[in-house]
């Protein structure tokens, strides 16, 4: 989600504490490739792994202690709120991380793309809610194949014709397909709350190939509102009509066992929505510069309910020009999302992915240390989802050593 320049300035201040961590980045680097690291780990799983600082760069790294703590924290919070988690796999696109979430108590995962679901299911991820409607004959046919393989496959529908197409395809495939009605929050996807949505839910309920499971109401726009009070107010106002539709469905005798939505920005707000069942949290596993900026419930500007676990390690290619460093991570490594990547240990620095292959770090004041060519730099990613999608693997790091290489199972599966 793009933010305005003033939002960029806000996050810059807000995230200063997150970036000020006193991090020691050693200079002696070896530069192992993904292939070499995988080979080392395969050779002996008990072998102490490579140092994070010896990885070839740009390298996508996830701190496993923080990742695991984030998953635990979210599950505990949701238990308190009386809701379930149905984490969105669009964030990590990784079977391994989905498994961690399911093992911790998630009731399933969400997928935004059919290709994600197809990639994850062979890894045993079989409780999947597809939050996007499948429209083309091919996608519908493939969705039915997934439903055939996994009774836990549920898909969104927001249109009567599509509901009829799904029902016909389900019958042809010899299954009854589980369906949730996508009730719009905003104007991106879904059918508006109210009469039309209720009519669609009733239609789904009567169609022979479909089984109505409830509704979805994802409010993407509310997730990144800065300031908890404003975020809460808008999130609850936006979803009021949807909660009304849920109640009307219930009153009409329709199944509302699923009323799902929300995300990392509203995880501690959704329980206030009547009838709500589960939250589609995604970014909480990694956090990123965008979420660091939205502010905590107690008014603290840095949103640190969860810890930043996802970083990109880059290498200094040029230190020759005053006040700036060129590094080997540009927009193909960190995207153009704003706020920009945050350079750990350098809260006064600005990273810019103005070039596809190269990033430039500009220092407004003196850098905290001198950088030599070949030195490593570590950065908190701007926005986790599209950054993860640029890499084939992320390195699972524990105490600065590679513990495991985590394939990004559904990398590029945007169809």
């Amino acid at each position: 989600m793009a933010t305005t320049p003033s939002a960029t300035r806000r996050v810059f201040l807000a995230s200063s504490t997150a970036l000020a961590a006193d991090v020691w980045v050693p200079r002696t680097v070896k530069g192992y490739t993904t292939h070499e690291v995988a080979g080392r780990l395969a050779g002996s799983l008990s072998e102490v792994g490579t140092s994070k600082w010896d990885l070839d760069t740009p390298a996508l790294c996830v701190d496993l202690d923080r990742l695991e703590a984030n998953i635990k924290t979210m599950q505990a919070a949701m238990r308190r709120f009386g809701l379930a988690t149905r984490p969105h796999a669009k964030t990590h696109r990784s079977a391994d991380i989905a498994k961690l979430q399911l093992a911790a108590g998630a009731i399933g995962v969400c997928c935004a793309k059919l290709g994600e679901a197809e990639a994850l299911m062979p890894h045993g991820i079989d409780r999947i809610c597809m939050t996007t409607a499948n429209l083309s004959p091919s996608k519908i046919r493939r969705a039915m194949q997934l439903r055939k393989r996994a009774p836990g496959f549920v898909q969104a529908v927001d249109d009567e014709r599509n509901a009829r197409d799904l029902s016909a395809a389900a019958q042809e495939a010899g299954v009854v397909a589980d369906v949730v009605v996508d009730v719009a929050v905003g104007t991106r996807s879904g059918i508006p709350a109210g009469e039309g949505a209720l009519r669609l839910a009733k239609l789904v309920d009567t169609l022979p190939g479909l089984k109505l499971r409830g509704l979805l109401s994802y409010d993407g726009g509310a997730q990144h509102i800065t300031g908890f009070a404003a975020r809460k107010e808008r999130a609850l106002a936006n979803i009021e009509a949807n909660a009304g539709t849920c109640a009307a469905m219930k009153k009409a005798g329709l199944n509302t066992e699923i009323f799902s939505g929300g995300g990392t920005g509203t995880y501690n707000i959704q329980h206030l929505v009547p009838g709500f069942t589960d939250v589609q949290v995604g970014s909480y596993v990694f956090m990123d510069m965008q979420y660091l900026a939205i502010g905590r419930e107690d008014g603290q500007p840095v949103y640190d309910d969860f810890a930043s676990s996802l970083t990109v390690v880059g290498t200094v290619l040029n230190n020759r020009f005053p006040g700036k460093l060129t590094i080997d991570a540009g927009s193909k490594a960190l995207t153009l999302n704003v706020p920009h990547a945050g350079v750990i240990g350098e809260p006064g620095a600005d990273y810019n992915a103005g070039s596809d292959e190269f990033g430039v770090i500009t220092f407004k004041s003196d850098p905290s240390r001198a950088y030599a060519m070949g030195d490593r730099v570590e950065m908190i990613v701007p926005h986790c989802d599209p950054v993860v999608n640029l890499y084939d693997v992320m390195y699972g790091i524990r105490k600065d050593r590679v513990e495991r290489v985590i394939p990004i199972t559904a990398r590029g599966k945007s169809q």
Copy 2:
């Protein structure tokens, strides 16, 4: 390269003619996956391929007639200018397209990343100039392996210590490594023109493991300057000191057989630089919204020296909200580069990749046709390099049918 909002408005006007093409996008769609298309083609190469409009979406498509014409046009222009082409493979990351360029007369290709060179070389692309210095011991060692496999492998150096490291590694690998000095234009990479650069060239010339081949001077900043006159003035001013360094190298008896740089924006300017040998053109094969905006030599605002060949086909997921369409191609399919993607057939529309998975097309005036859910939409990409890097394959289209599936050989090879 990011541009300012005013540049966005300019390109919007400038590209109107490119987008106004009367394109017929049929509604009946089947949605074949990459896998299915590859299977069909493998089954019978003479089989008439799938229609572009039946591909699963988002689908990256390249019009082969336009691609081939662009390559031919560039070679012909360079012959007129008395320069060679050394096209930059960072744009397409594709062995197949590199082969087309070499077959048309390119003297080699450039790579920005070692991983690109490693991915392309096994496909017979063995004349590679790496325009980024290799700094870490691992990268240096791998570069020497490439040099061992291919005498046509040349790499950039911009630092004395790095030159010594390369020389030592070359000797250890039993090769003499070909090296060009990266002489800076701007402050991103390279060593500033003048005494320091000359001294580095002399050092390279004396080091036992290295063979000096000349110099690089790539001016990324000049490529997208709007207006030919301004672009020409700045490009020539920026490179003046570099040309002086080239002359000084020549005078000192050093090898300057390579004096390489420039790109699609300055392809018709570089021949005015004394001693210049070859142009690192990249985007000309595809063109994109950024290049369409920079203006032609004759003052015409649309830069159409080359034809837009690269598009993304998406599907309309939601047509329910007045004045806008939601499509299945967001920032994971089209990036956040500006100017935004241009919707073919809808010059008055604005595409926005504000969401990772979904794009929104907003119509300022009435759309030229009504869109149903499931309809296809075709878009010119904002900036070709990072968009290509999001996909595993691009579909080679001739007269709206898939003729070949082109693997993006070095997709994600950013290390």
